[in-house]
């Protein structure tokens, strides 16, 4: 299945989210070897079977998602690279398998995932529950790591596109041109693999592979300031056909704010409308079905155009109920303080959130200074799991379950001290600073609209990613900003300076002493005057001793 959702944002930018879903009816759990691959990419299938992976989620993101301006994303991701994996319980050495898995993935996605090692891997105890089926509660088989420094560029997009059944030749993937995709405010591509039920009764499982790509185009840099978006303007391509291998291929345009067409005009018009409850809000979408030939019209190509009528009259978007921020406070290069703020914008409901913080070992956290305050008063978390760091082995792991009171800001502060690294541990450009990965806030946020919990088969992909249990709440995961922290950096030319200075001192000092001790002095007669010299020459000729 393939799907594209376009949502105009209130700031004039536009958010496009691609999702591609491949379902593979085979069973890895039994340990049988699989050798026939059709639509599911062979590279990932081999990875799943060799490393006994139950769930794999990897994302590469460039930019930071601005929740307050853009609302909630369909699939959140932190800046940089993030990888979290649930292994099956048949794995005996989880750490060794994790290391090999990261190396293999770094080859597949052309990214430096091999930098993931024990110093930035954690084992969360409560967050990141599996998104697929199965009641797995043993967190020994979960590993989570982020690389905030990782860059995303065309070399990551190329292998990602090659995993799609149609590649980038047909269907929605035709729109993915790197010059346009990377010239955006936010770009995120991800691969999610998990086991799902094949049908209602869930007698057998199949593997679901979802590839997602979220991009936000800026009004001024991509839109040239004009509030008018079309497929051609966003992607420099139009659509001519659906992927022949896709069972469904649809484009959804969010028209909730535009019921009678008063805000913007959508052309070509389409009669299909769909409603879905996503992120706690009932939204209406105009649907273009690409498997129908009629969608492409007489020109055999589809280029949707959204033209805004007036430049004023921005109505308020629904304020996101949960929002997070993080920053470093303090001065100097010795100590500092990390502040994490969580905002609850619900007017009357309080709800609990799970905060996960991973801090590298070289920022030594003083957990006795950890404070959690809401509205000025102390707010004791009901569950704290803290794993202290070990120098050069493990990072800090802090997980807390905090109840956020309604309409409030909760602030979590902790003080830290910066450590001095060994000189070989510094990166080649240490004055840039060192990154601390984003905090993860996971919550079940109460929703104002009831959702139905039927099977995920008929719902659009963007609303069926996170499994929903309760009718009146939906799952949200927020990532805060990553931090950039300067560590005390030595002067790397000092070894050279020290060697030069020492050698000079030794040479001058020892040499002088040696000369003083071993030099002998002889008295020398001053040379005689001219008359005496002539007399000496005559005397030498005569054979008489000189004067």
């Amino acid at each position: 299945d393939e799907e594209l959702v376009i949502r105009p944002l209130h700031s004039g930018d536009i958010y496009a989210s691609f999702q591609f879903r491949t379902v593979w009816d085979t069973d890895f759990m039994g340990g049988k070897k699989v050798s026939h691959y059709r639509l599911f990419p062979k590279s990932l299938g081999q990875v799943i079977s060799k490393f006994s992976v139950r769930e794999l989620h990897i994302s590469f993101t460039q930019g930071y998602w601005r929740t307050m301006q853009w609302g909630q994303p369909f699939l959140p991701s932190p800046p940089g690279a993030e990888l979290w994996v649930w292994f099956q319980d048949t794995v005996t050495d989880v750490d060794g398998t994790w290391k090999e898995l990261t190396n293999v993935l770094s080859g597949i996605f052309c990214a430096s995932l091999n930098f993931i090692d024990s110093t930035n891997t954690v084992q969360p105890s409560a967050s990141f529950k599996p998104l697929g089926i199965g009641n797995v509660t043993d967190h020994r088989f979960l590993r989570y790591a982020t690389l905030p420094r990782e860059i995303v560029c065309t070399e990551n997009l190329t292998p990602w596109k090659k995993l799609l059944p149609c590649g980038s030749k047909a269907g929605l993937a035709v729109l993915m041109k790197s010059e346009k995709l990377f010239h955006s405010s936010f770009h995120s591509q991800a691969v999610h693999i998990r086991p799902v039920c094949q049908d209602w009764q869930c007698k057998s499982t199949s593997w679901e592979l979802r590839q997602t790509l979220n991009v936000v185009f800026d009004l001024h840099s991509s839109g040239q300031g004009k509030r008018e978006w079309s497929l051609f303007k966003m992607f420099s391509r139009t659509l001519t056909e659906a992927c022949p291998l896709a069972s469904s291929s649809k484009i959804y345009i969010d028209v909730t704010d535009n019921p009678q067409g008063e805000q913007f005009e959508l052309s070509p018009a389409t009669p299909l409308l769909s409603q879905a409850v996503v992120l706690g809000d009932r939204r209406t979408y105009s649907v273009y079905d690409l498997t129908q030939q009629a969608t492409f019209g007489s020109m055999r190509s589809l280029n949707m155009l959204l033209r805004w009528k007036s430049s004023d009259g921005e109505c308020d978007m629904m304020r996101p109920l949960l929002h997070g921020e993080r920053y470093v406070a303090g001065y100097g290069l010795q100590t500092g303080e990390i502040h994490t703020l969580m905002y609850n914008h619900h007017p009357y409901r309080a709800f609990p959130v799970l905060l996960l913080d991973t801090v590298p070992w070289y920022l030594r956290l003083y957990i006795h200074t950890l404070t959690v305050t809401s509205k000025g008063k102390d707010n004791k978390p009901s569950y704290i799991h803290y794993q202290p760091s070990k120098d050069r082995v493990r990072p800090h792991l802090l997980e807390m379950l905090v109840q956020l009171p309604p309409n409030s800001v909760t602030e979590v502060t902790v003080q830290f001290e910066r450590a001095l690294l060994k000189w070989t541990e510094y990166t080649p450009d240490p004055n840039h600073g060192f990154y601390v990965g984003s905090s993860v806030v996971s919550a079940l946020v109460p929703s104002v609209v009831a959702m139905d919990t039927n099977s995920t088969q008929e719902r659009p992909l963007f609303s069926s990613f996170f499994p929903s249990k309760e009718e009146s709440s939906y799952f949200v995961r927020i990532y805060t900003e990553p931090l950039l922290v300067n560590l005390p950096t030595p002067d790397f030319s000092m070894p050279y300076n020290v060697i030069c200075l020492t050698c000079t001192v030794v040479a001058v000092g020892y040499g002088s002493l040696y000369n003083l001790l071993t030099r002998t002095f002889q008295v020398e007669e001053p040379s005689p005057g001219l008359a005496k010299r002539l007399a000496n020459i005559i005397r030498k000729m005569r054979g008489v001793p000189p004067l």
């Binding site: 460039q62 293999v104 770094s106 065309t154 070399e155 990377f182």
Partner: protein
């Protein structure tokens, strides 16, 4: 028996594995990345697949925030040629480009968990092209602004490759200041080397672009790219033409080359032997029975 025949068929002729490196960090060294990518592009165009190319870029220029046109790297100031393209696979990037990784790739002494795309899987019938660019001096090349590789280390690495039968013929091109010093110490057979400048001379950059704000290419590689654009898979230009690329009038520095370790006459060596992937094909009239190897796989 059928499997032996298949092995022989692919072993004859030479397969072409290839390594390309750029060793400079920071935005103002844009031209080194552009150099590397233009050579990468020429080689891909002439037929060497990505699986046979180890591309190392020490910094990200295309998606760098200072790049006014993201996901592009240009080689010419009128922005005619985007050498980054849409189909690039970088094997080592960012901090992974270190002297240690480079030497390990050459000698094949990589940890067992290294994926195939990051290995130089050459054998004794491979012709390898190695292109290095960056900042250099007399006898060394700078990696990542913090470490150097010396010409002695490089010569020893090539000798290790020769001992382990990892190459058939090797062409070494270097575009740095005082580049000729890097090949002075080679002592293994079947090596040919080209450099953009002699000892005591600096290699200069070609032209700045006002929109991007940095110099786009180095002179030697610019004229090398122009020369390679005229090559197609069936062309018969040989190495002597390559030695004439970029004379002193265009390059300001004097390019040098070294062929004394090479067994064949450079005039008989085709450019496509190193830059392209031209295989020798042996036509056989016998039929090969493929059923028995398939059975053996299923038994496992």
């Amino acid at each position: 028996m059928p499997r032996d025949k298949a092995g022989q068929f692919f072993g004859s002729g030479h397969t072409n594995n290839w390594a390309v490196t750029c060793t400079s960090q920071f935005w103002f060294n844009y031209r080194h990345v552009a150099n590397t990518l233009s050579v990468y592009r020429s080689v891909k165009r002439l037929g060497i697949p990505d699986s046979h190319i180890v591309l190392m870029l020490a910094d990200d220029m295309a998606c760098n925030h200072r790049n006014p046109k993201p996901a592009t790297v240009f080689s010419h100031k009128n922005m005619e040629l985007n050498v980054y393209g849409d189909d690039v696979e970088v094997d080592y990037r960012g901090y992974e480009v270190t002297v240690e990784n480079f030497l390990r790739v050459l000698t094949g002494r990589l940890p067992p968990s290294t994926p195939r795309s990051k290995r130089l899987l050459s054998d004794d019938r491979s012709n390898i092209l190695i292109y290095l660019t960056g900042h250099g001096g007399n006898g060394f090349l700078k990696f990542q602004d913090s470490e150097e590789i010396s010409n002695v280390e490089l010569a020893d690495a090539f000798e290790q490759m020769w001992q382990k039968r990892r190459y058939n013929e090797l062409l070494f091109i270097i575009d740095t200041c005082q580049g000729a010093s890097m090949y002075e110490r080679f002592y293994s057979p079947n090596l040919m080397a080209l450099a953009s400048s002699q000892v005591g001379e600096d290699s200069l950059s070609h032209q700045p672009d006002l929109a991007i704000g940095v110099h786009l290419m180095d002179r030697y590689t610019f004229y090398l790219l122009e020369f390679l654009e005229d090559i197609h898979p069936a062309s018969t230009t040989n190495m002597n033409d390559l030695f004439k690329v970029c004379p002193k009038s265009q390059c300001v520095s004097t390019p040098g080359h070294r062929t004394d370790l090479f067994l064949r006459d450079p005039g008989s060596v085709l450019i496509t032997d190193f830059f392209g992937s031209v295989r020798k094909v042996e036509i056989t009239m016998e039929t090969i029975n493929l059923t028995s190897p398939v059975e053996q796989v299923e038994d496992k």
